[in-house]
């Protein structure tokens, strides 16, 4: 219980910092600490993402980082894909989904590490310009 709530805080923290990471930590928190199966954990993670993303968007907007028109278009144009993804998640064997999810985690980890190591630090100049 407490572990899951703490991971919730951590997930939100990374979501705010990196713009990703809500679901990447919600799903394992729900499977490892709250005993849900992979599909139920994914479904529940999606619900938990909504308030996190709303608050994150509100904050990002105040920093001038949200292009509303594009965000709306992206969201609306994603509907078919989102429904398709859920249908697939419910159709494939749960163990396969678990392994695909782990592979996604590894991919995200590698990409984050590679980007962090290969790009110059943007924070200082960006913050100064603000």
């Amino acid at each position: 219980m407490i572990e899951a709530a703490l991971i919730g805080v951590l997930a939100g923290l990374f979501a705010g910092l990196l713009g990703i990471g809500g679901g990447a930590l919600f799903v394992p928190a729900l499977t490892l600490f709250l005993g849900l199966g992979q599909v139920d954990a994914e479904a529940t993670s999606l619900l938990a993402i909504v308030p996190t993303a709303i608050v994150g968007t509100w904050r990002q907007r105040s920093y001038g980082n949200v292009r509303e028109r594009d965000a709306l278009l992206l969201g609306v144009l994603a509907i078919a894909g989102a429904i398709g993804g859920v249908v697939i998640a419910n159709a494939v064997p749960e163990r396969a989904l678990e392994i695909m999810f782990a592979a996604l985690q590894l991919y995200v980890a590698i990409r984050l590490a590679r980007d962090a190591l290969s790009t110059p630090e943007p924070v200082t100049s960006d913050t100064a310009a603000r």
Binding site: A4, A5, L6, G12, L13, F14, A15, G16, L17, L18, G19, I20, G22, G23, L25, F26, V27, T31, L32, L34, L36, D40, A41, E42, A43, T44, L46, L47, A48, V50, P51, T52, A53, I54, V55, G56, Q60, R61, N65, D70, A71, G75, A78, I79, G81, A82, G84, G85, V86, I88, N90, E98, M100, L106, V108, R111, L112, E121, V123, D126
Partner: protein, 129 residues
Amino acid sequence: MARMVVEPSGSAGRTARLAIIGTLAGLFSGLFGVGGGIVMVPLLIVWLGYGAREATGTSLAAIVLIAAVAAATQAGYGNVDVAKGLLVGVPAIGGVLVGTWLQQRVPQKAIALTFSVVLVGVAIRLVIG
């Protein structure tokens, strides 16, 4: 205002790109129970010339809609556990407030590397566990 945004609005090619990015993000979101930011952020930067922070902010806004649609679809299958969702989701609101505040102030490199280590640990645990 952080900066002026020069936007070639209304171009069909641009909308097509947004449609492709949206569809991919939706698929990822529905299939893996994530927001889809991992797809949107890099593609907004590479295809549409977004800055990193704008990509993050715009992606987060799109995720509100995407995750809501995917969650509703999952609810139709009876898979959503509302109480457990609140148990991780409500503490995350506090986290995201601190996270966005910190994002404007701390080196992102260290954060990204820390997060990648966390994810590798989680992946290993998922496969073994």
